[in-house]
Subunit: 133 residues, 2 copies
């Protein structure tokens, strides 16, 4: 019999509670990588949820061409972003949040606002811990 806790399904077994193969993990792993959240955030505030490659690159301080390519490619692979290719010269490519990608934003909001309210505390905790408790 399957139960739910905070959005996560799990089963009560004789060995104790077992979470089903970590579905959220693969998503959180993507969001947790170095640039994904920044790309999503920029698309979220862009007109039409849409920006071209060079606009994203300019908007994100420090990202290299290679890492931006990898990041948007992974988002496209997940279906969170749609890639629009215009074979002009020079070529133009635009990235747009998909319907699913846009639907993630409100869901993400509660969590990111919790982070906004708590990250200073977390940073302070880390400093204290590193200073030797």
């Amino acid at each position: 019999m399957s139960k739910f806790i905070y959005g996560r399904p799990y089963q009560v077994t004789t060995k104790g509670p077992q979470f089903t193969p970590c579905a959220p993990h693969s998503v959180l792993t993507r969001l947790g990588d170095k640039w994904t959240i920044l790309v999503m955030s920029h698309l979220a505030i862009a007109p039409g949820f849409r920006l071209r490659f060079s606009e994203l690159k300019r908007g994100i301080e420090g990202i290299t061409q290679r890492m931006l390519t990898l990041t948007v490619r992974n988002l496209e692979r997940d279906g969170l972003v749609v890639r629009h290719y215009y074979p002009e010269v020079p070529p133009r490519v635009e990235y747009e949040l998909s319907t699913m990608g846009a639907s993630m934003l409100p869901a993400l909001e509660g969590f990111t606002s919790w982070i906004s309210n708590n990250w200073q505390q977390i940073e302070e905790n880390r400093r204290n811990f590193d200073a030797g408790d």
Copy 2:
């Protein structure tokens, strides 16, 4: 002047929108690592939000002693988990969600439920993409 979008502060500059040094990132990175969500989830359903080291280890399939130690140590460092040490023989150590750690759970819920509703689609998108669009 600072604006907010989906819980994230950003500034409108002449170079376009700039997100302030990615505060959510360090938190998402922690949550996105391999074992953290599983540890948090097990504590979330434990009586008193509290489990001992060996209980966590038994509950999480495949985790090694080393990785569990690193994971709970990082959570302790962030202040999301409190470590209770009982110098008995043999020693007993219990990990408990802190107030802040517990306060994260409802915030996380909206996001994890979005993931629950969408991860099959994401997995399918990945398969299709990998099969050559």
